[in-house]
Protein backbone atom coordinates (compact mmCIF):
# COMPACT_ATOMS: atom_id res chain seq x y z
CA UNK A 1 0.00 0.00 0.00
CA UNK A 2 2.84 2.40 0.87
CA UNK A 3 4.58 1.53 -2.41
CA UNK A 4 1.36 2.28 -4.30
CA UNK A 5 0.97 5.65 -2.54
CA UNK A 6 4.63 6.46 -3.25
CA UNK A 7 4.40 5.69 -6.97
CA UNK A 8 1.05 7.50 -7.41
CA UNK A 9 2.55 10.59 -5.73
CA UNK A 10 5.83 10.45 -7.71
CA UNK A 11 4.13 10.04 -11.09
CA UNK A 12 1.58 12.70 -10.10
CA UNK A 13 4.39 15.15 -9.32
CA UNK A 14 6.07 14.26 -12.62
CA UNK A 15 2.80 14.88 -14.53
CA UNK A 16 2.38 18.27 -12.82
CA UNK A 17 6.05 19.23 -13.30
CA UNK A 18 6.05 18.44 -17.03
CA UNK A 19 2.62 20.11 -17.33
CA UNK A 20 4.14 23.34 -15.99
CA UNK A 21 7.12 23.01 -18.37
CA UNK A 22 4.68 22.88 -21.35
CA UNK A 23 3.84 26.57 -20.85
CA UNK A 24 7.15 27.73 -19.38
CA UNK A 25 9.55 26.85 -22.20
CA UNK A 26 9.87 29.10 -25.25
CA UNK A 27 10.69 26.14 -27.55
CA UNK A 28 7.47 24.71 -28.97
CA UNK A 29 9.07 21.34 -29.72
CA UNK A 30 10.14 21.12 -26.09
CA UNK A 31 6.55 22.01 -25.12
CA UNK A 32 5.21 19.08 -27.16
CA UNK A 33 7.78 16.72 -25.61
CA UNK A 34 6.97 17.99 -22.09
CA UNK A 35 3.28 17.31 -22.75
CA UNK A 36 4.22 13.82 -23.96
CA UNK A 37 6.12 13.17 -20.70
CA UNK A 38 3.25 14.62 -18.65
CA UNK A 39 0.69 12.36 -20.35
CA UNK A 40 3.04 9.37 -20.00
CA UNK A 41 3.34 10.12 -16.25
CA UNK A 42 -0.49 10.14 -16.11
CA UNK A 43 -0.46 6.71 -17.81
CA UNK A 44 2.09 5.51 -15.22
CA UNK A 45 -0.26 6.79 -12.47
CA UNK A 46 -2.96 4.53 -13.95
CA UNK A 47 -0.51 1.60 -13.80
CA UNK A 48 0.32 2.47 -10.16
CA UNK A 49 -3.43 2.48 -9.45
CA UNK A 50 -3.63 -1.10 -10.87
CA UNK A 51 -5.53 -0.03 -13.99
CA UNK A 52 -3.16 -1.77 -16.38
CA UNK A 53 -5.19 -1.75 -19.61
CA UNK A 54 -6.06 1.96 -19.44
CA UNK A 55 -2.49 2.85 -18.40
CA UNK A 56 -0.92 1.12 -21.39
CA UNK A 57 -3.62 2.57 -23.69
CA UNK A 58 -2.95 6.08 -22.37
CA UNK A 59 0.82 5.79 -22.88
CA UNK A 60 0.47 4.35 -26.43
CA UNK A 61 -2.17 6.90 -27.51
CA UNK A 62 -0.33 9.90 -26.10
CA UNK A 63 3.06 8.84 -27.51
CA UNK A 64 1.50 8.84 -31.00
CA UNK A 65 -0.59 11.95 -30.47
CA UNK A 66 2.22 14.10 -29.07
CA UNK A 67 4.69 12.97 -31.77
CA UNK A 68 2.18 14.22 -34.37
CA UNK A 69 1.75 17.42 -32.36
CA UNK A 70 5.55 18.00 -32.37
CA UNK A 71 5.57 17.65 -36.18
CA UNK A 72 2.72 20.18 -36.47
CA UNK A 73 4.61 22.53 -34.17
CA UNK A 74 7.62 22.52 -36.48
CA UNK A 75 5.32 23.01 -39.51
CA UNK A 76 3.23 25.88 -38.21
CA UNK A 77 5.24 27.86 -35.70
CA UNK A 78 7.13 30.99 -36.63
CA UNK A 79 9.86 30.10 -34.13
CA UNK A 80 9.61 26.37 -33.28
CA UNK A 81 13.07 26.27 -31.64
CA UNK A 82 12.30 29.22 -29.36
CA UNK A 83 15.60 30.91 -30.30
CA UNK A 84 13.93 34.32 -30.72
CA UNK A 85 12.42 34.24 -27.21
CA UNK A 86 8.99 35.38 -28.50
CA UNK A 87 6.23 35.90 -25.94
CA UNK A 88 3.17 34.06 -27.22
CA UNK A 89 0.78 34.73 -24.37
CA UNK A 90 -1.99 37.21 -23.69
CA UNK A 91 -4.29 38.08 -20.74
CA UNK A 92 -1.71 36.44 -18.48
CA UNK A 93 -2.99 37.72 -15.13
CA UNK A 94 -6.57 36.65 -15.86
CA UNK A 95 -5.39 33.22 -17.04
CA UNK A 96 -3.29 32.63 -13.91
CA UNK A 97 -6.27 33.68 -11.75
CA UNK A 98 -8.64 31.37 -13.64
CA UNK A 99 -6.19 28.44 -13.38
CA UNK A 100 -5.61 28.95 -9.65
CA UNK A 101 -9.35 29.30 -8.94
CA UNK A 102 -10.18 26.19 -11.03
CA UNK A 103 -7.51 24.08 -9.29
CA UNK A 104 -8.30 25.54 -5.85
CA UNK A 105 -12.04 24.91 -6.03
CA UNK A 106 -11.45 21.32 -7.24
CA UNK A 107 -8.94 20.65 -4.43
CA UNK A 108 -11.35 22.05 -1.82
CA UNK A 109 -14.09 19.76 -3.17
CA UNK A 110 -11.67 16.77 -3.05
CA UNK A 111 -10.98 17.40 0.65
CA UNK A 112 -14.51 18.47 1.59
CA UNK A 113 -16.54 15.61 0.19
CA UNK A 114 -16.98 12.43 2.21
CA UNK A 115 -16.01 9.80 -0.36
CA UNK A 116 -17.32 6.91 1.71
CA UNK A 117 -15.61 3.55 2.12
CA UNK A 118 -12.54 3.06 -0.08
CA UNK A 119 -11.91 -0.32 -1.75
CA UNK A 120 -8.49 -1.78 -0.95
CA UNK A 121 -8.34 -4.69 -3.39
CA UNK A 122 -8.62 -4.10 -7.14
CA UNK A 123 -9.60 -6.88 -9.57
CA UNK A 124 -6.54 -8.44 -11.24
CA UNK A 125 -5.48 -7.26 -14.70
CA UNK A 126 -6.87 -10.21 -16.67
CA UNK A 127 -10.20 -9.96 -14.87
CA UNK A 128 -10.35 -6.21 -15.54
CA UNK A 129 -9.70 -6.60 -19.26
CA UNK A 130 -12.29 -9.36 -19.55
CA UNK A 131 -14.91 -7.40 -17.61
CA UNK A 132 -14.23 -4.23 -19.66
CA UNK A 133 -14.62 -6.25 -22.86
CA UNK A 134 -17.93 -7.63 -21.61
CA UNK A 135 -19.01 -4.08 -20.69
CA UNK A 136 -18.06 -2.76 -24.15
CA UNK A 137 -19.91 -5.53 -25.95
CA UNK A 138 -22.85 -5.53 -23.57
CA UNK A 139 -24.43 -2.71 -21.65
CA UNK A 140 -22.19 0.07 -23.09
CA UNK A 141 -22.17 -1.14 -26.69
CA UNK A 142 -24.22 1.82 -27.98
CA UNK A 143 -21.83 4.32 -26.32
CA UNK A 144 -18.81 2.43 -27.69
CA UNK A 145 -20.23 2.41 -31.22
CA UNK A 146 -21.14 6.10 -30.93
CA UNK A 147 -17.53 6.87 -29.94
CA UNK A 148 -16.29 4.94 -32.99
CA UNK A 149 -18.64 6.75 -35.39
CA UNK A 150 -17.67 10.09 -33.78
CA UNK A 151 -13.97 9.43 -34.46
CA UNK A 152 -14.77 8.46 -38.06
CA UNK A 153 -16.85 11.63 -38.53
CA UNK A 154 -14.06 13.77 -37.04
CA UNK A 155 -11.49 12.17 -39.38
CA UNK A 156 -13.65 12.88 -42.44
CA UNK A 157 -14.45 16.43 -41.24
CA UNK A 158 -10.78 17.20 -40.47
CA UNK A 159 -9.71 15.94 -43.91
CA UNK A 160 -12.47 17.93 -45.63
CA UNK A 161 -11.47 21.12 -43.81
CA UNK A 162 -7.78 20.57 -44.54
CA UNK A 163 -8.21 20.06 -48.33
CA UNK A 164 -7.06 23.24 -50.14
CA UNK A 165 -9.87 25.55 -51.26
CA UNK A 166 -8.50 25.55 -54.83
CA UNK A 167 -8.74 21.74 -55.05
CA UNK A 168 -12.37 21.87 -53.89
CA UNK A 169 -13.14 24.70 -56.33
CA UNK A 170 -11.73 22.64 -59.22
CA UNK A 171 -14.21 19.90 -58.39
CA UNK A 172 -17.02 22.45 -58.67
CA UNK A 173 -17.87 22.37 -54.96
CA UNK A 174 -17.42 26.09 -54.40
CA UNK A 175 -16.38 29.36 -55.95
CA UNK A 176 -12.67 29.85 -56.54
CA UNK A 177 -11.10 32.41 -54.15
CA UNK A 178 -10.03 35.76 -55.55
Amino acid sequence: MYAQAFFVAVFGLAAIGFGVVVFRTSSMVRSALALLFSQTAVGCMFLAMQTEFLGVLQIMMMATEMSIMAIFMVMFMMDPGGMGGMDMTHQKRFSIGAGVVAAGVTIVVAFWVDWGPVTVEAPDAAMQTRALGMELLGRSMLIFETAGVTILTAMIAATAVAIPVQARANKGEMESPE
Binding site: G12, A98, V100, T106, I107, I143
Partner: protein, 103 residues
Amino acid sequence: MTAILIVALVTGAILFGIGVYGALSQTNLVMIMMGVELILAGALVNLVAFWRFLHPEIYAGQMFVLVVMTVMAVEMAVGFGVAIARFRARGSVEMEEARDLKG
Protein backbone atom coordinates in the same frame (compact mmCIF):
# COMPACT_ATOMS: atom_id res chain seq x y z
CA MET B 1 -6.21 4.17 1.02
CA THR B 2 -8.18 7.42 1.21
CA ALA B 3 -4.82 9.23 1.12
CA ILE B 4 -4.02 7.74 -2.31
CA LEU B 5 -7.46 8.79 -3.58
CA ILE B 6 -6.85 12.34 -2.32
CA VAL B 7 -3.35 12.41 -3.91
CA ALA B 8 -4.86 11.37 -7.25
CA LEU B 9 -7.69 13.92 -7.00
CA VAL B 10 -5.30 16.75 -6.09
CA THR B 11 -3.04 15.78 -9.02
CA GLY B 12 -6.05 15.85 -11.35
CA ALA B 13 -7.13 19.24 -9.96
CA ILE B 14 -3.68 20.79 -10.47
CA LEU B 15 -3.44 19.39 -14.03
CA PHE B 16 -6.90 20.88 -14.67
CA GLY B 17 -5.74 24.28 -13.36
CA ILE B 18 -2.57 24.24 -15.49
CA GLY B 19 -4.69 23.32 -18.52
CA VAL B 20 -7.15 26.17 -17.87
CA TYR B 21 -4.21 28.59 -17.62
CA GLY B 22 -2.73 27.28 -20.90
CA ALA B 23 -6.00 27.31 -22.84
CA LEU B 24 -6.73 30.92 -21.78
CA SER B 25 -3.25 32.44 -21.98
CA GLN B 26 -1.77 31.06 -25.20
CA THR B 27 -2.13 32.83 -28.53
CA ASN B 28 -1.21 29.88 -30.73
CA LEU B 29 -3.90 27.38 -31.75
CA VAL B 30 -1.69 24.32 -31.19
CA MET B 31 -0.67 25.57 -27.71
CA ILE B 32 -4.35 26.14 -26.85
CA MET B 33 -5.01 22.51 -27.84
CA MET B 34 -2.19 21.47 -25.48
CA GLY B 35 -4.03 23.26 -22.65
CA VAL B 36 -7.25 21.42 -23.47
CA GLU B 37 -5.29 18.11 -23.49
CA LEU B 38 -4.08 18.85 -19.94
CA ILE B 39 -7.64 19.67 -18.80
CA LEU B 40 -8.81 16.30 -20.15
CA ALA B 41 -5.79 14.54 -18.56
CA GLY B 42 -6.90 15.95 -15.18
CA ALA B 43 -10.39 14.58 -15.80
CA LEU B 44 -8.91 11.16 -16.72
CA VAL B 45 -6.89 10.95 -13.48
CA ASN B 46 -10.03 11.69 -11.45
CA LEU B 47 -12.13 9.14 -13.35
CA VAL B 48 -9.56 6.35 -12.91
CA ALA B 49 -9.17 7.19 -9.20
CA PHE B 50 -12.94 7.14 -8.69
CA TRP B 51 -13.23 3.79 -10.47
CA ARG B 52 -10.27 2.19 -8.65
CA PHE B 53 -10.95 3.37 -5.10
CA LEU B 54 -14.73 3.81 -4.97
CA HIS B 55 -16.43 1.45 -7.45
CA PRO B 56 -14.00 -1.11 -8.94
CA GLU B 57 -16.89 -3.52 -9.54
CA ILE B 58 -18.68 -1.14 -11.97
CA TYR B 59 -16.89 -1.13 -15.34
CA ALA B 60 -18.92 1.78 -16.70
CA GLY B 61 -16.23 3.87 -14.95
CA GLN B 62 -13.53 2.48 -17.27
CA MET B 63 -15.92 2.95 -20.20
CA PHE B 64 -16.18 6.64 -19.28
CA VAL B 65 -12.34 6.87 -19.42
CA LEU B 66 -12.44 5.44 -22.97
CA VAL B 67 -15.04 8.07 -23.96
CA VAL B 68 -12.79 10.88 -22.63
CA MET B 69 -9.82 9.41 -24.56
CA THR B 70 -12.05 9.49 -27.67
CA VAL B 71 -12.82 13.15 -27.02
CA MET B 72 -9.04 13.82 -26.81
CA ALA B 73 -8.45 12.14 -30.17
CA VAL B 74 -11.39 13.95 -31.83
CA GLU B 75 -10.21 17.30 -30.45
CA MET B 76 -6.74 16.72 -31.92
CA ALA B 77 -8.07 15.65 -35.33
CA VAL B 78 -10.49 18.57 -35.72
CA GLY B 79 -8.02 21.05 -34.20
CA PHE B 80 -5.29 20.12 -36.65
CA GLY B 81 -7.80 20.25 -39.56
CA VAL B 82 -8.72 23.81 -38.55
CA ALA B 83 -5.02 24.68 -38.04
CA ILE B 84 -4.16 23.51 -41.58
CA ALA B 85 -7.08 25.45 -43.09
CA ARG B 86 -6.14 28.58 -41.13
CA PHE B 87 -2.45 28.27 -42.06
CA ARG B 88 -3.35 27.94 -45.75
CA ALA B 89 -5.64 30.96 -45.62
CA ARG B 90 -3.50 33.34 -43.54
CA GLY B 91 -0.05 31.74 -43.17
CA SER B 92 -0.32 31.66 -39.39
CA VAL B 93 -2.18 29.89 -36.58
CA GLU B 94 -1.97 32.83 -34.18
CA MET B 95 -5.39 33.38 -32.63
CA GLU B 96 -4.68 37.10 -32.08
CA GLU B 97 -4.88 37.47 -35.86
CA ALA B 98 -8.15 35.52 -36.11
CA ARG B 99 -10.47 38.30 -35.02
CA ASP B 100 -12.15 38.12 -38.43
CA LEU B 101 -13.66 34.78 -37.29
CA LYS B 102 -15.70 36.66 -34.69
CA GLY B 103 -19.36 36.51 -35.71
